[in-house]
């Protein structure tokens, strides 16, 4: 469990370690350092209230279970914010998360889950950009 001084238990108790294929919005090159930064580590952080820094999800990395679910979500987000690519990425990457990479939250009905990384996790090495999202 991370010592981050937030009120809720983080990662949540229902998180599990697992090995699975996953999809993540990234920028054009996988080496881009913004690709696997949790929102808490970004500068400037995309927060609009002090309470945002106290939320466990700010320390997770958003991932999707399938390519189709990721693309669907991206299209929906793009309809809300045309500039969405500037903050969450412009491409889709595919990779494997291993058990020792951390724990994942339960996968929701839209195929989304958060990975709470362990210190051994290095997603840059295990993900490949597969397509541009428009």
């Amino acid at each position: 469990m991370l010592d981050i001084g937030i009120a809720e238990i983080c990662p949540p108790v229902e998180c599990i370690s697992t090995e699975m294929q996953a999809y993540r919005f990234t920028y054009e090159t996988i080496e881009d350092k913004r690709n696997f930064e949790p929102v808490f580590a970004k500068n400037p952080r995309r927060f609009n209230d002090k309470s945002d820094a106290e939320k466990c999800s700010a320390f997770g990395i958003s991932l999707y279970q399938s390519e189709a679910q990721a693309i669907t979500k991206y299209i929906i987000l793009k309809s809300i914010v045309q500039n969405i690519g500037k903050t969450i990425g412009t491409h889709l990457a595919k990779g494997i998360i291993y058990k020792h990479y951390g724990v994942i939250t339960p996968i929701d009905e839209e195929g989304h889950f958060d990975l709470h990384e362990s210190e051994e996790c290095n997603l840059h090495n295990d993900f490949t950009v597969i397509q541009e999202l428009v």
Partner: protein, 466 residues
């Protein structure tokens, strides 16, 4: 980031003080759309841009009903911004330390288009629990009450103190429902045409609209009888935003144009130009009837708490009534024939209900009547469909015309003869049954497939010629 310096007024201070975050509505690696409130007013923060130092947020005020409409997919985020009453929107740059550094007021029309959501920006996310709790239910009812017509019915006689006769109450509600249903149907046909809905059957859509315009009572009180009536436009999700807006506006227009109307010459001219005589009769006659001087009750329109009377429904004067609903000038022979048919219907009803002769004579005077028919067999010229259970439908008599309107099978029949309208209805059902039976599943359109299922639910044994 977009340069907005030449289109904005910069405010030195953030204009919304005392607002607290209620919930993030859209979140992906941090908030994208968030709801703030000071308990009275509501703000949405929409992330729209960033650079190395700032995140830029579009901040705009919304009313709670519109927010719920957005969450329930009745309107898009774009609608929420564009239809907003505010002329200026706030674009704020927030730095790493969460300081609001630039508060730019931008005229809505001048906002760079890249900062606006697209037309498809409906809420395709899980609604946070806070909006689906009992509080949200209360909010929903509150929203319904806000737009409703609240009224009080009081007995003129003091025989039962302020208690209202159930018959009077039912009559008032029935007449308002009848008038409102006519209003919806007539105005939908005026405001839209089949060309507006390329892939939809206009009549089916109209019957769905009418069905979904059912009047609800979100608020009641007793003593005398007080009720608020309205129609839902928040929960129904199957309609497009244009139709949803139309439905909302139509109820408000109905309230102003029918229930709370103050007749004068100018208004009468507008009404007679807008609606033909038959439409006026369908819309206004039921309301004029419940406002008659001879009724032993009176109706007042109140505020939503039923405390303050805003208006009493007064009897409509004869000159106004005659201009609005002129007496039917039909040839005597047709009138007699029509009345004879009504007598037939009335006598049967009277026999069934053991009504006295006086009731029959009153029925004679009516221009409008409804008769429920039931049968276990649809038969026409030797062909028959034996039904699984008793089938009920309604024949409406409206000033010389007998009408059967049966939306489930998409049928609307009119005739000047009671027997003919019935025969034509049965003939149409049998023909529809035969036509749909001949078509293979892959030849059926969606609406035909749905019709076929509905007929299949009715028919037990067919005896028809292929």
């Amino acid at each position: 980031m977009e340069d907005i310096s030449n289109i904005s007024f910069v405010s030195n201070s953030f204009p919304y003080i005392g607002f607290k975050k209620v919930s993030d509505l859209i979140n992906h690696d941090g908030p994208i759309l968030s709801h703030f409130s000071d308990n009275n007013r509501h703000l949405l923060y929409l992330w729209i841009d960033n650079d190395l130092s700032y995140n830029r947020w579009l901040i705009f005020e919304v009313d709670k009903n519109s927010l719920l409409n957005y969450l329930y997919k009745n309107i898009s985020l774009l609608d929420l911004i564009i239809d907003n009453k505010q002329e200026f929107l706030l674009v704020t740059d927030i730095n790493e330390s969460l300081e609001f550094e630039c508060n730019n007021l931008i005229k809505k029309d001048s906002l760079p288009s890249v900062y606006l959501p697209t037309e498809n920006s409906y809420f395709e996310f899980k609604i946070p629990n806070i909006y689906t709790s009992n509080d949200a239910e209360r909010e929903y009812l509150h929203a319904l009450v806000n737009d409703s017509i609240s009224f009080k019915i009081e007995s003129k006689s003091k025989k039962y103190l302020s208690a209202v006769k159930v018959d009077n109450l039912l009559n008032v509600l029935k007449n308002i429902k009848q008038s409102f249903t006519s209003y919806v149907s007539i105005n939908f046909k005026k405001d839209f045409s089949s060309d507006d809905f390329k892939n939809l059957n206009f009549d089916t859509l109209l019957s769905t609209i009418v069905k979904d315009s059912e009047l609800l009572m979100p608020n009641l009180a007793y003593g005398s009888f007080c009720a608020s009536i309205t129609t839902d436009y928040l929960m129904s999700k199957e309609f497009s935003p244009i139709i949803q807006n139309w439905r909302k506006e139509t109820f408000i227009k109905y309230r102003n144009e029918v229930i709370e109307i103050d007749y004068d010459v100018q208004i009468l001219n507008v009404l007679t130009e807008k609606y033909d005589e038959m439409d006026r009769r369908a819309i206004y006659s039921p309301i004029i009837e419940i406002s008659r001087e001879t009724n032993d009750y009176k109706i007042s329109i109140t505020d939503s708490s039923f405390r303050k009377i805003r208006k009493t429904l007064k009897p409509v004067s004869k000159p106004i009534r005659e201009k609005l609903l002129p007496k039917i000038q039909s040839p005597e022979i047709i009138k007699s024939e029509s009345l004879f048919q009504i007598i037939g219907m009335a006598e049967k009803t009277a026999e069934e209900l053991k009504l006295n002769k006086k009731s029959i004579l009153e029925t004679k005077e009516l221009d409008y009547a409804e008769l429920t028919q039931s049968t276990d067999t649809i038969a026409y010229k030797g062909e028959e469909l034996y039904l699984k259970e008793i089938f009920e439908y309604k024949i409406i008599y409206d000033r010389g015309v007998f009408i059967i309107d049966y939306p489930p099978l998409d049928l609307h029949i009119e005739s000047q003869s009671f027997d003919l309208v019935k025969n034509e209805f049965y003939k149409n059902i049998i023909e529809l049954y035969k036509r749909l039976q001949k078509l293979a599943i892959d030849q059926l359109s969606i609406s035909e497939s749905s019709l076929k299922n509905r007929i299949a639910e009715l028919v037990a044994i067919p005896n028809v010629i292929d």
